[in-house]
Amino acid sequence: MGREHTNRDYEQELRKLREQILLMGAKVEESITGSIRALTERDTPLAERMIAFDRNINQMEVDIDGLCLQVLARRQPVASDLRFITMALKLVTDLERIGDLGVNICERVIELNQEPPLKPYVDLPRMAEDVQRMLHDALDAFVAGDAEHAQRVIERDVNIDAYYQQIFRELLTYMMEDVRNIHRATRLQSIAKYLERIGDHATNLGEMVVFMVKGKDIRHVGKLGSVDTR
Amino acid sequence: MRSLFSRELRSRLGDSALVISTGAATLLVLIILAIIVGDVVHHGAARFSWEFLSTAPSQGMTAGGVFPAIFGTVALVILMTIAVVPAGVATAIYIHEYADRESSLTRLIRVAINNLAGVPSIVFGLFGLGFFIQFVGVGIDRTLFSGHKVFGQPALIWAALTMAVLTLPVVIVATEEALRAVPRELREASLALGATRFQTVIKVVLPQATAGILTGTILAISRGAGEVAPILFTGAAYYLPQLPWQPQNQFMHLGYHVYVLATQSPDVDAGKPILYATVLVLLMVTFVLNLSAFVVRSRMRHRFAGASS
């Protein structure tokens, strides 16, 4: 991120913060892949482990919040440092939510694994892979301070939405065919919904990275009246 | 770790040696002062009385008092002060507040003042004689008194002006020191409020420099009361029947009186007690003046406590 702070301790604190955020991001990615694998491989113990694993993610949110608060109190950050800290606080909230969504997926997986599979799982794993890659790229963009990279992540959200629509329509047909499918179909639809929301969170991360790097707040563009793009 | 209790013997001896030697020097000074004062008091106290201070000398300086000499000294000093203080203070103000520090004119002025301070006092006497009496005085006589000798001879006014020139450097230096002691921030504050330099000097700088100026003035007066050489041929006289009520009169003077009593008295032994008593008066005047300078300075410092160091 350019030159270093005159104060070495301050520089250390910022570095540690970055590392922790990346670590949390990695853990969250793992929870997504793990939960989908629990679905495709019908591995209930794995799902249960993923649910327990969420505790680590929650703890990291608390730890990182504490670190941010410390920097705010002691260093009075301004400009790019200020944007970094305030975004870090929001970033970990989003990561923690993604973790929670992963837990939700695992809960649905455990329920699904008690019955034979409704259909071969094709789209869901692909959707999950795309979402996980979005999250990964957003975190990469954060590390590299690459606003263009983050912008591309934001643009990929439409694909995720498209996936969801497709899966939902397909599941609808299954539900209309046979009422005994409804139980499993709704569970699968929930999982797709969770993945779609993870995609939204990854988009948020991308927008935060853009703000942090450029100082331009691009959130809610098009949804507010007029936007100050100075 | 070195102990707090012991110190190298050498440095402790050094400390003691310094205390002892400086103490001894101070003691020496005090002893000399005591001897002088003691001698004068011992020989002069007998003749010292209110009558001595208030009557004129009589019987060829072997009896009577020194009142005319006191009067003359006081008159001289007053006139001298009126002449020297405005000139000296104004010069110091010009040098310090207005003149460009680096210019050659300013440097020239400073050199002139320093040299003036170093001129022997007898030379001032000659200057007074040659310039004030023989040039200015004679000139006044020619224009105003059609040649009659009024001002073209030794007179109180010329002696006063000569003394003023002598003590000018003292007043200038003391005033400049006092001006320098006024912190720059006060001048800046005044100027920043929209005051002219003149207003700043009058309303801020001078009030605070007053203590120093007064000190310098009193020191100048002290010199004026004591110096004899410059007034030798510019106005002092040995015996005058009248007091010098007009500026063109000659006058009697304590210091001059002592000189004459010691060297030209017809009856040296009879005059000795009077001599010592006169010296006692002179010393008392000097002490009182120096003491009042000290008191004024400390009073003013107390009043402006916190402003200057």
């Binding site: 350019g2 030159r3 301004v78 400009a79 100082g215 | 006060l186 920043a192 409020l193």
Partner: protein, 258 residues
Amino acid sequence: MTEPVEASRHKLTVRNLSVFYAEKKALGPVTMDIPEKRVTALIGPSGCGKSTFLRSLNRMNELIPACRMEGVVHLDDQPIYGTGIDAVAVRRRIGMVFQRSNPFPKSIFENVAYGLRIGGLNARPELVERVERALQQAALWEEVKDRLNESALGLSGGQQQRLCIARALAVEPEVLLMDEPASALDPIATAHIEELISTLSDRYTVVIVTHNMQQAARVSDYTAFFYMGDLIEVDRTQVLFTKPSQSKTEDYITGRFG
């Protein structure tokens, strides 16, 4: 050099101002506007020229020998430099408060009344009224109203500084220049001064030099960053402290200077 900042009105306009001490350039050229009835802070490392710039605004630099200036400064539409322009008149409209409080060794009343007296006002009732008003504006009235005839030197450091502010305000200037007014004060006294500055900006245009960036961030509407005699950036404070446009500014305010 950056574009001047738009504001409701500009009280002072500076164009190509340069200051030389003994032919060595200390500042400039600087072009900048000071917006009216706002607080503008000047920040930068030691020796960057911010105090020199400040003192150019009320012609206090002239008091330093071998100081030369180029460029133009306008107060409203009038130039403040030039033949025929009286420095004394300029200083009546542009007042100054210094880093170390410098009350005169006079009474509290006489300190505040000083500027009025030298301006020719000596009528007691009016003096009393203006002195009270100035002390009220400086948030000092309640503390000194019963001891106006006591020496100003008996006040605490923070009170003395507020007295100096009252003294400057008594002549009702249009602009108030403050050269690190709180740097010699403890945190509570500093807080009082900062509070005072924000109330003052309702009536006066304030320009304040400070080496304390957090103070600049707290107190000012606009901030100008100086470095090595040049104006690097000037902008609204909330912009300069969240997304400055010059990397030098960014480095300085985040503490990345080597």
